[in-house]
Amino acid sequence: MLPARLTLVSAEPVSDEQLMLRYRDGNAVAFDELYGRHRGGVFRYVLRQVGLRSAAEEVFQEIWMNIISSRARYRVEARFATFLYHVAHNCVIDHFRRKTPLHLISLDDDPEEAHQVAGPDRDQPERAVALRQSAAKLLNALALLPPEQREVFLLHEEGGLTLEEIAGVTGTGRETAKSRLRYALARLREGIEHEADIA
């Protein structure tokens, strides 16, 4: 997490767009606040698609460098999250173009990677184990989704984007995005139930 000194102290929550405008005007603290809000979501968005943590870190850094370098040209034309995930989408695509084929994480094959993806241990061991098992099942099902459906789900979950915004980021229509999200959710639920039946 970010150090406490980096968070902005303000009575009213400042929007992402305002923070980015402040950063554009030279306020580096505003960037830190903005980064703190989105770092986890963007990282997971990348990690779930790229698979390997090292590759995800590389892409993640590239995304934020793009945001930093484009600060002078930034204009509020849409939500900042839409802009950010648009950049992330393009960086992930570039990554796949550079390094095909896609390497999907199998949580069963590599316990170390599975540990990395599933997240840190919780304070309560039993609950942590249950959550990890549930998340592992879901992540397994997520990894098996077609890339387009997986991306739509991640944009929805991690970016909090609307269907219209997802359509804008992925360059598709709203109905296509909705259809992909519906299929993704259905398959993920099936995957969870299937794992439960096997267990």
């Binding site: 997490m1 970010l2 980096l6 950063y23 030279g26 306020n27 580096a28 960037f31 830190d32 980064y35 770092r39 986890g40 990282f43 997971r44 990690l47 870190e57 993640f60 850094q61 934020w64 460098m65 930093i68 370098s69 600060r71 002078a72 990395q116 993806v117 599933a118 997240g119 840190p120 959550l131 990890r132 549930s134 998340a135 592992a136 879901l138 992540l139 997520l142 929805h156 979950e157 991690e158 909090g160 984007l161 609307t162 269907l163 909705k178 999200l181 519906r182 959710l185 259905a186 993920l188 639920r189 969870i192």
Partner: protein
């Protein structure tokens, strides 16, 4: 996401269960060293002056200027020099004097703007009837006849009159040159006036030649048809004269027998 349609709400409801499970395990975050690196880069970007991008605008302006100036220079070099008011007239006079009449007809001077013809006062033309080439009047009369009768064949004067016309044109030019030579020791104003007069005279002669050339048959076949027309009208002498002109213009053209009979034996071969 705030669903507005029923199916969107259903989608949201379906997704909520999956979302809950997903979020329970979605704890992956970037390492602290990556956070530090990105935040340091963000600070460097803010602290650095924007000089490194400042070269782009001046460089592009300079490139555009260089391109524009070089284009202007290239275009200006390729453009032919504009003729001065008196230079073409002198050239035309020289051409009329030195070149044979037919050659002078075949290589008319570059067309100039119409204002030369339009600006010339009509009284000047009437004031010097002796210097107007006779061919000009003939051509004008012939064109008027043609316009009245509608007969194209009769309206076209032969190229042969162009020769005397050119000769007639050359004479005034010579006279003017002689006049210029005589008046070389006179006052500059007078000299300029003489030069301007000579230019106008030469121009009018060249224009008459152009008219004649335009009125003359463009092709031998048309010319011969015109001669046939004269024969049909009973103008045998005129037809013979035109045929001689034709033979002079096209010495190797194979004439029909009926026309060969009109020519003298030495010209018919």
């Amino acid at each position: 996401m705030k669903p507005t349609l029923p199916e969107d709400r259903e989608l949201e409801k379906t997704g909520s269960e999956v979302s809950e499970r997903y979020r329970a395990g979605a704890q992956d975050e970037p390492p602290a060293r990556l956070d530090a690196a990105i935040q340091a880069a963000a600070r460097r970007e803010v602290e650095q002056p924007r000089q490194r991008r400042n070269w782009q605008m001046p460089a592009s302006i300079a490139a555009m200027l260089v391109l524009g100036v070089s284009l202007v220079l290239v275009v200006r070099d390729k453009e032919p020099p504009l003729p001065s008011l008196e230079q073409p007239a002198a050239d035309e006079a020289k051409l009329a004097k030195s070149a044979p009449p037919q050659l002078a007809m075949k290589t008319p001077p570059k067309p100039r703007a119409n204002f030369h013809r339009e600006e010339r006062p009509s009284r000047e033309r009437s004031a010097r009837p002796d210097r107007e080439p006779a061919a000009r009047d003939e051509a004008g009369a012939a064109q008027e006849d043609a316009a009245a009768s509608g007969a194209v064949a009769q309206s076209a004067p032969a190229p042969a009159p162009a020769a005397p016309a050119a000769a007639g044109q050359a004479k005034p030019a010579e006279q003017e040159q002689a006049r210029i030579a005589e008046s070389s020791d006179s006052s500059p104003n007078k000299k300029d006036k003489v030069l301007a007069d000579a230019a106008k005279e030469s121009r009018s002669g060249v224009q008459a030649l152009r008219k004649q050339e335009a009125a003359a048959p463009a092709r031998p076949r048309e010319w011969l048809d015109e001669i046939d027309g004269l024969l049909r009208d009973g103008k045998e002498a005129e037809a013979r004269r035109r045929l001689l002109d034709f033979r002079q213009q096209y010495p190797h053209y194979a004439l029909p027998e009926r026309l060969q009979a009109l020519l003298p034996p030495e010209a018919a071969k």
